[in-house]
Amino acid sequence: MGNPVNMTNHKPKQSADSSAGAIIEETPLIAGNHTFSSITEKISGVIEGPTPKMWWVLFSFSVSLLLILVGSVGFLIWEGTGIWGLNSPVGWGWAIVNFVFWVGIGHAGTLISAVLHLFRQKWRTSINRFAEAMTIFAVICALLFPTIHVGRIWVLYWFFPIPNQMSMWPNFRSPLLWDVFAVSIYFTVSLLFWYVGLVPDIATLRDRAKTRGKKIIYGILSLGWRGANRHWRHYELGYLILAGLSTPLVLSVHSVVSTDFATSIIPGWHTTIFPPYFVAGAIFSGFAMVMTLAIIARKAFGMEEFITVNHLEKMAKIIMVTGLMVGYAYSIEFFIAWYSGNDYERFTFINRALGPYAWAYWIMVSCNVIIPQFFWSKKLRTNVTVLFILSIFVNIGMWFERFVIITSSLSRDYLPSSWDYYSPSIWDIATFVGSFGLFFTLFLLFLRFLPMISMAEVKGVLPQADPHHPMYQKSGEAHENK
């Protein structure tokens, strides 16, 4: 019953958004009467101030997890993939689950920085910087898993079209090779996009730097940026073009990941719904991760005025929409399995919901389909504690989605004689837990050394940044009178 009420509540607001005159009367994007200079102070202050004790605690913990990752990857390279719980028929276990999980998380960063930029969603400015950072670190974690999964990582260069002594070339017709290209290009483009966004802010740090070392490092990284309009005009177009290139790229990346499965003949994998279904799931999980990180960061560094409840509510709405898409995909999979008349497909889906992996299936459904329904209520989606808890559930649910898709289909395919149950070994678990160490170590370093919120962009969405704002009408007239 809550749904129609909420929707009607929102109608007048949405129509007000679209008329240009009403934009000023909207709830301000940045709370707390900030000036340009107070924004600089607040955001640079985090980097220039002393390192908080809590940062050291979290950093030590993350590095410990990272060491677990180093140890378990080292042992894997030494011993081989036999240390994992893989068996026949389940040749893809946690490593591939983790790969898809981490790539999916990355997608929200690009969605925020590129797609919302194209749609002129100004609220993205408060969250795009660390969402992009999250993308890069998540993709690093993602790239790790297929890399170590090949077993003999010293011949990894076989993946790339490098002329070699064997006159051998990669198979460009394989989705696994498309994946190599899609994910590594995605990483590179995200890094470029992130760096371009950082340049004006690094210039701010350069101009504020007190020590010679900082002046040199920030000086080099900011490339001599002078905030000139003759820079900005290329910069803005370049940023727009990068957004335009990243948008189809991000949609293609998870579509390509899904073709790893969809082009096989395994029941439960061989479906055409996979690309859009995976992309929706990726955005869903990524926004949940952005939400988790945003809530921690705004609390830890007092950024409530920049990342307001309004921002979190908007993210909650996106989580709800993509959650509904994911739920729709789950049901369509069942419908098509029945409608196809294919016995193996039908069996696979009944087996998912009722078979040996039913526990995982129902965790997935609870977290991904039921949990987002709470966001219909305005009261719940504006409560930060609730958002934090629910976003973690979504993260868990999306990991289980990949686990269900990969293991349940593989463990019981065509021949009952080849069925086997898969469970992870201690090394699978250690590697996965360790990948969080890698992710959080990188993320904490980012929070400490680079501005976590884009100062230049946040300044640009303040009302006083608009030269045609009514507040300047008077001063303009006075000017002419002079």
């Binding site: 460009f172 210039a203 940026w225 000139a228 005009r233 910069y235 370049g238 001063s475």
Partner: protein, 180 residues
């Protein structure tokens, strides 16, 4: 003024984006060519106010994106038909449909590099030294300062007259930038 000092230009500060834009319009109307507006964030409409054309970056990216796509497609076609022809699932060697994804990826990669390198190239960056850095006040541009700078290579440039003009259009803290 020491003998070995150069005059780089004149710098004037404005109090807000609106004043900066009005200032830019007057600079344009006065006929200045080598002047620039410095602000902590991009100000929309400034290109028009300064009388400069739209950036050509889009064409550069288009060309490089096209090169990326063509080279990517050619590489795959060559690998599968000439260099290393292998039959997969009975499909023809030249199965162009399968090459589209990597072609697209390489187009995006080349386009993105062209966009980033192109935007810095067109902005004449990296440029680690600029006369403006001699000014003590100039660092404010990356915080909350709005400046107009006039380069001494402008044909209309004259340190005193330009300073006076900048003051007449609302500039404050007028500074003639000199350095070695």
């Amino acid at each position: 003024m020491k003998t070995n000092e150069l005059t780089y230009g004149v710098l004037a500060e404005f109090s807000n984006p609106a004043d900066l834009m009005h200032g830019a319009e007057k600079m344009r109307d006065e006929g200045f060519k080598h002047f620039d507006c410095h602000s902590p964030f991009p100000i929309h409409g400034m290109d028009q106010a300064m009388g400069i054309k739209r950036s050509v970056l889009g064409y550069i990216v288009f060309v490089f994106g096209l090169i990326g796509a063509v080279c990517g497609f050619a590489l795959q076609a060559w690998v599968h038909t000439k260099a290393y022809p292998l039959t997969f699932a009975g499909k023809p060697y030249f199965s162009w449909q399968a090459f589209i994804i990597v072609t697209f990826g390489l187009m995006v990669l080349a386009g993105a590099f062209a966009a980033v390198l192109g935007l810095f190239h067109l902005s004449k960056l990296p440029k680690f030294f600029d006369g403006l850095f001699y000014s003590k006040r100039f660092g404010k541009f990356s915080d909350d300062g709005f400046f107009i700078s006039v380069d001494s290579k402008d044909l209309k440039f004259h340190d005193e007259e330009t300073s006076r003009f900048l003051e007449s259009i609302g500039g404050t803290n007028i500074e003639v930038i000199r350095g070695e």
